[in-house]
Amino acid sequence: MRKCSLSNSTALFNKIAENATLYIPVDLEKGRVAYKKYADGMKMSDALKTDRSAKDFFFPQTENLMEFKTEGKSIEIIDNRSEAEDFVVFGVRACDVKSLEVLDKVFLAEPVDSYYKNRREHGVIVSMACTRPTETCFCGTFGIDASAPKGDIECYKTDDAFYFNAVTEKGEALLAKLDGVTESSDEKAVNEQKEQIKKVLDKLPLKDLKADEFGADKTDKFFNSPEWKNLSEACLGCGTCTFVCPTCQCYDIKDFKTNKGVQRFRCWDSCMYSDFTKMSAGQPRLTQMERFRQRFMHKLVYFPTNNDGMFSCVGCGRCVAKCPISMNIVKVMKTLGGKNND
């Protein structure tokens, strides 16, 4: 385990930024928190969560896939892909770290998405244990341990120091480069913090939320539940939950005409949108109830069915905090989850 005193954090960040682009969470005006490209002396936020998740680094809201030039009847494809720069995302919470594992299941499955893979290969995740989880947190429901946040390097921040443990080879390589600004340390402070975190986790209002009732092959159990109607009644059909979600990964591909040619780009899409499945020949999900159901069935049943039981929710609570009508996966699970969640 390596240690870096907080008074030395600028040196630490500068050192990381020497070899790679470093992103750290930063406090902005009116309580906003976002990852920003590190510049000398920038102060890291202690906020629990960034408004948008670390998903953006690997699966950005929009990205250009390729360009075309057309002339007469001819088409030329311009493959603009280039090697991503090396980058480090510092301070990623356990839930968001886990979300990348969920995204990997989609984008790294054959045929591999080279855009995502490229960024994944060049990105290093320094996680951060959560000493002050909030009322909307429920990562424990999905077996995520906020006191062991994983990532490439696992990081703990105490009142006076950062503590680092490399988890992956990539993490080891980065940590080795930081020898000059870190020192060897025992695990005492970290173990104490882990104990403290566990105590706090046990006091969270959503600590008893269980996912046991859900999971692989439970389609028949939930699909025709009469509860979907009431749950979705007030849903606006907006994309807030989808877009703040660290695991939602549906996308659209669109062409954009520029004066130089055609740009084909990909952007986030939402199963909550009425045109998501719309075809010229028809629409399989006609009502918001069906679209609403799709999102939660996907996270709680379909995804686990295809991925050895892994849920595609990590309990980060962003949708809980952000939904305009305060409807969310917690309420869905409590309503559908039967006795377990009473």
């Binding site: 896939l65 998405d113 379909y302």
Partner: protein, 283 residues
């Protein structure tokens, strides 16, 4: 990075022939720029065609894999990309990626079976690929019956091929029907579901048992055909169909063709009826 294959980046191909099949269906022959087939496929698979700036859409491949020279797509004019294609001329380049999907199990479950092909309207497009595959590998399959119907004689896709080739193939029974009477048509008149029942009712029990049905057409036709086949003793494990949903990626990632735990583009588009029954009713 650029040496890594990216499934979303297509290949430029060229339309080498366009055939007007019906007033709203055209068949496009597509080759790579150096005159080769763009890919090797299985019957029932699809490919993504696009015109940059217009859009990209998934189409079933109507030519048989046994055709070594080219691939063909039969496309009904109904949306943005299809309207553009209908206005295109021979020599027009388009982009192609694929093939996608599972295709029909022609080398496994279908082998040795008597085949009953049932299609309505443009639904013959994916089925044609299997029919011709079976005809080209005739020894591997039993008797072949084709029941095909459309609104009118003019809306029968591949009419020339049906008359010149399939009807002249002594190993194939072709049963054509149109919805309403029409001058110059002396064939069967009526809807596909009833006609299928008429045709298949004559099968003896032994033949019924060793027949596999391939079904493609509008939802209402599928519904009533299934009902009819059920009434005369077919079970769902004998019937295959192919689905169409909105798709963007074709590789099981973009999410929109997700039905239950399946992605139609990747796990389908071909489903056996009992498999389809196990999915939520959202297709």
């Amino acid at each position: 990075m650029t040496n890594v294959k990216e499934p979303l980046i297509p290949t430029v191909c060229v339309i080498t022939d366009i055939r007007q099949d019906t007033p709203d269906v055209k068949t496009f022959r597509v080759l790579t720029l150096d005159g080769k087939k763009p890919f090797i496929h299985k019957p029932g698979q699809c490919a993504m065609l696009s015109m940059p700036g217009v859009g990209e859409a998934l189409f079933s491949i109507t030519s048989s894999p046994t055709n070594t020279e080219y691939v063909e797509f039969s496309i009904k004019k109904c949306g943005c990309v299809t309207s553009w294609l209908h206005a295109a001329e021979v020599g027009q380049q388009i982009t192609v990626r694929g093939p996608y999907g599972n295709g029909f199990p022609v080398e496994t479950e279908f082998k040795g079976q008597d085949m009953l092909f049932i299609a309505g309207g443009i639904g013959l497009a994916p089925v044609r690929s299997v029919i011709n595959y079976v005809r080209d590998n005739r020894a591997n399959y039993g008797k072949v019956d084709i029941v095909y119907g459309s609104r009118s004689k003019d809306d029968l896709v591949f009419y020339k091929e049906i008359i010149d080739e399939w009807k002249n193939d002594p190993t194939v029974n072709v049963h054509l029907t149109i919805d309403r009477e029409q001058e110059g048509w002396d064939g069967h008149v009526g809807f596909v579901p009833n006609f299928v029942k008429e045709v298949a009712e004559k099968f003896d029990e032994d033949k019924k048992a060793k027949t596999t049905a391939v079904l493609c057409g509008p939802p209402i036709m599928i519904k009533f055909t299934l009902q009819g086949l059920g009434e005369i003793g077919f079970n769902k494990e004998q019937i295959y169909t192919t689905l169409e949903l909105r798709m963007k990626c074709g590789i099981g990632k973009c999410g929109r063709c997700n039905v239950g735990s399946k992605y139609v583009c990747k796990d389908g588009p071909v489903f056996r009826m009992d498999q389809l029954d196990a999915l939520p009713d959202e297709y």
